[in-house]
Amino acid sequence: MPEAKELQYADIHRDVVRSIVETGPKYYITLGTAIFVTLLCFFFPWFYQLYYGIGAAGLNHPQVWGTYLASFIFWIGLSHSGTLLSCVLHLTNSSWRKAMYRSAEAMTLFSLVVAFTFVMVHLGRPWFIHWSLPYPNQMEMWPNFRSPLLFDVMAITTYLTGSAIFIYMGSIPDFAAVRDRTIGWRNTMYTLLSLGWRGTDREWHRLHWAYTFLAVLIIPLAVSVHSIVSWDFALSIVPALHQTIFAPYFVVGAIYSGTAGIVTVMFILRKYMDFGQYITKVHFDNLGKLLLVLSLIWTYINMVELFTGWYSGASTEHEALQYKLFGYYAPLYWEMILFCAVAPLLCISKRFRTSFVPMLILSIAVNIGMYTERFLIVGTSLSRQYLPDAWGLYVPSLVELSIILGSFALFSTFFLIFVKIFPSVSMYEVKETMSTPKTEPEAPPEGNPA
């Protein structure tokens, strides 16, 4: 990191602790707006829908699944790159990961939470969601273990638990560092959160061991989660959904949109949290390369999907294919191709990868494209099923659009609260990438290596 040369260890602490304790009016205004939008656009329409029935959404009979499920997949997908990328990079010892992984992992966590709220929004009777959990009860009723939806419940709760532990454990030394630099209620909170971390050799050894263990554990988990989400669709016999390519398709798509999401979040962190010295062109360059590779794989899988549909020779598959490419939703399909397959090719140029604003625009475009993809998976397939008498059209209602908008506000609310509690840059790991300070730091951190 060329720009980080002048940084001293103490600067890192100062910067990160400052980002936690010093809160300007701008932050409160942003947080207030986010909470307000969440309440107005997410919870208000949702409560209206709970009162009125799912009819508040634009769903109808052939298309009983709609944007709620598309948003669910979208948020699960967005959750993918955070922890997964962090794990892969940790195991491959990529040092450029260290400045950005904390916020990436937080993204994972909050996306999963938002995805879960979408399951609640999607359900007809969400107050009975606990029935999908296998708990002993006097009726001796168990959930249906054959159901891909139940696999989903299992996979997502496991992934959520795993990534929550992962982000928390990686933050313990940083909590301790913040604990030593704060007073009052913050000190109490960080004392509790840091679990009495003292920075002894033994503790570092344990932390490293457990961290690597979790990293190895989470990679297959992340892959399994999105494979299982894809089985919700692929295990049906709906034409254009009943495809074996769906599991890798969803995993790649998830990592793809997740990586784009990280670019967006890093841009915002860099711009508004003054982390310019930590999040540099190197990160954007590397993520740009990753985006390029992922977009190529994604494009390939899309072509395979079209090919297998055509090659099946089944009239229903052909109809579904025809409808997807040239039917009512075709403009959305071509928009998706433009945003997810064509636009990322710009990442071939290094100049593009290392310029921040174009990368931001690209990352947002990719995620719009990926959202469209999820919508199309649900939308085009269900509207053209076996019996032509039951064909139909589906257009999302205002309630649905508002809830989608509100979900972003919900995510931002979580994230804004997160940056004030968690050190959003991993201090101890950034220090590992730096050379030892040349002069005495202004305020030596009393014998604490953390």
Partner: protein, 255 residues
């Protein structure tokens, strides 16, 4: 007996080979398309028997009507030489039903009468069964429906009124089947006689295009009809093993 033993017992019972294929009864239906005139009397009968909501014009236009049995209409050919074909479509009570595997809470399952049942109280409204059903015969309650007085007086007391957020579908008038079985038991008979139970649609069909009965009984009318060379099943290639069998329309010009 501890709860663990009870669970183990239940488990063993359901693990019995062939448990899922051995039914006490095996209710089935034949639909003779040669007799069907598309009069939709069955649709109306079903509506009144099973407390189906009358959703109104707006919801109907939005595609949210609830019709456990519907008459699908297909036009064949170009204008002067045009043919209209009907096919009544209802829950096929598939013996290997795609909808049953997907429900996370087992709200839909196969019972010992070979029926594909829907437990309204257990349904959490994921709507995945409707997606997985290739016949599109599962209907979701998008709203709470209400019946203006005095229409609420005509609701069938044997059938529940479903609340919003719940999936529903044709039950083969399970309330009538239950009643017939109770009557048979009270009479000291072991089994329901053929023709003793009829769903509302079968009862009302003026041309007797619909026939209902026990497929396990080789002497029943439905079993005999199922040996007819005209029989076929809708979307048989999906291997749903449906209990509703259609009899092809006889056409002179193709004879």
């Amino acid at each position: 007996m501890s709860i663990l033993d009870r669970i183990a017992d239940g488990w063993r019972k359901y693990r019995k080979p062939g448990y899922y294929d051995e039914f006490d009864y095996h209710w089935g239906m034949t639909v003779d398309l040669d007799r069907c005139t598309g009069c939709e009397a069955c649709v109306t009968a079903c509506q009144s028997e099973n407390n189906l909501p009358i959703v109104g014009e707006k919801a109907f236009a939005e595609g949210r009507e609830v019709k456990w049995i519907r008459i699908e209409r297909y036009w064949e050919g170009e204008f002067p030489d045009v043919k209209l074909r009907f096919i009544p479509m209802l829950c096929q009570h598939c013996d290997s039903a795609p909808c049953e595997t997907v429900c996370p809470v087992s709200a839909t399952y196969h019972n010992q009468d070979g029926l594909n049942t829907q437990v309204y109280n257990r349904c959490i409204g994921t709507r995945s069964c409707a997606v997985y059903c290739p016949y599109e015969v599962r209907y979701f309650n998008f709203y709470d429906h209400h019946w203006d007085s005095p229409l609420d007086q005509q609701l069938n007391p044997d059938v529940t009124v479903r609340e919003k957020g719940v999936m529903e579908k044709c039950t083969f008038c399970i309330q009538r089947i239950r009643q017939a079985k109770d009557v048979a038991k009270d009479d000291g008979r072991r089994r329901v006689r053929d023709g003793e139970v009829q769903p509302a649609c079968v009862q009302t069909c003026p041309t007797q295009a619909l026939v209902f009965g026990d497929r396990k009984d080789p002497e029943s009318q439905v079993s005999k009809l199922m040996n007819n060379p005209r029989t076929y099943r809708v979307l048989d290639e999906l291997n749903t093993d449906s209990s509703v069998v259609y009899l092809k329309k006889v056409e002179d010009d193709h004879a």
